[in-house]
Structures are given as C-alpha cells and as structure tokens.
Amino acid sequence: MPEPAQSVAEQRVSREFNFRGDPDSLAASRQAVMDFIAPYCSSDIEEVDILIAVQEALANAILHGCQNDSAKTIHCSVVIDPAAFTITIRDCGPGFDVDAATRASESGTNTTAHGRGIAMMRSLMDEVTYRNGGSEVELRKLRAV
C-alpha cells in the first residue's frame, strides 16, 4: 500500500470527481475514488469495506439515478480527515423512497438477485445518510485509531 503524500493526522485532504452515468464507466470511476482513498486506509479490510460501499453507491447512481445514460453526470466528493473517510455521491435522478428501499433491503434473508446494496452499505460503513430525496448519499467510515 503506497504512503499518502501527506499525513491526515494533521490535516484534511479532499478531492472532487465527476463521472459519466453509464455502467461502462463504473470500474474506472470506482478505481479513481479508491486510488485516492487507499493510501490512507489502515488495513486491507478497511479498504475493501470502503471499496464495496463506494461500488454500491456508484452502481445505484448509475442504474437508478442516471438510468445508464452516459450523458448524465455523477458527482463524487471525498474528504479524509483525522476522524473519518467521508464520501458523498450525487446523481441527477429524481431520488427514491429511501425508507421503503431500506426496509426492503434489510428485511431478513433475501433470496432474489437484487436489493442488497443499501444493507451492505449500512453494514460496512459507520454512517449512511441519504439527502435530496435519495439522489445524494453520504458514506462515512470512522478511521481506525
């Protein structure tokens, strides 16, 4: 794992990204975010947890927010400070019923092929907050002491 350019024990670092809203860009988008975050992770487990949560949030933004439309844009901001990793992903879609989707995603054993993304994000991150009717999600992972 490469060393971060500067220690975040003393300061805050951040970066903004804009991605196309189509599935073909998902892997590169996810990797761009993780290339920035990974040097600050304290373990492989922490890195994979964030990777999966970012993957789910970007996938939801592409599939549901942008309807797989490459002309639409997803905005992502990453802030890393001594307390936490904070990743905010915003799409241009109309949002969704967050409460209903959360209940469906967390309602016991799901034996269908879909509907696990929100539950996974909530399990892997310390805080998952939806805003703007669901078109923006903030993922927050407290940093290991």
Binding site: I45, E56, A59, A113, M120
Partner: protein
Amino acid sequence: MDVGTQLPWGKAMLRIDIHDAGQQATLHCAGRIVLGVEIEILRCMAEARSEACLILDLSGVDAIDAAGLGLLVELHCRACSRNRTLRLTKVPPCVLRVIELVNLRSVLEIEANEDDWHDDEAQSPCGRFMTA
C-alpha cells in the same frame, strides 16, 4: 499457468480458470465479482456448464458486491430448479463476511471443511481460463 491480464493499477478484475472432472466442474475465480463485465462473464461461464455439480472456487476473490451476491443466489436457484448443485468452496474471509452480512450463509451451499478442497485440480491438463 499465466496469471492473465492485469489492469493498469495491478489488480485483475476477474479471472476464471475452468477444470472439468466428469460430472463436476470447478470455476476457479480470482479478482472481483462486481457489477459489470465481471459478473456477466461469470454468469455466462456458469450457465454454459452442463455438469451435475458446479463448484465455484473463490479463493482468489478479494471483493464481491451486491450484484455479485445476487448472481450467486441466481445461479444457486437455477441449479436447484434443475436438480443440480452449486457449491462455493475456499471462500475467503472478506467474501464470507459479506455473505453473512446479508444473511446468505444459510441459503448458499458453502463448503467449510478445508479437507474437502481439491487443490489437485489446479494441475489438471484440461484447465482453461478466461479473464474479464
């Protein structure tokens, strides 16, 4: 065997080696089972098999997302409907943890006993591989 194509940042997306053994086939997966071409190629390769028992060796998998878990459930249900078996083996802790997070441990058939692992298949002359 050649490790196959790597992405510029050094991590393979998903590489699948196939080993046939009569009525059983093993797909050795390495990389990430995530939304996109990775799960599509795994779906295609799994659905193309006609053996009574299909084994997914996940020892080389370093991440799986909701779409990947959805594919495992889909393949499991399809195997059951055809009176076939889909078995996961050598599931690494990072993947097992996610499977447990979404309560799929009791749904998927997961081989827990390391003694049941068939490492000798890795040397099989009938092996082939594909990389997504």
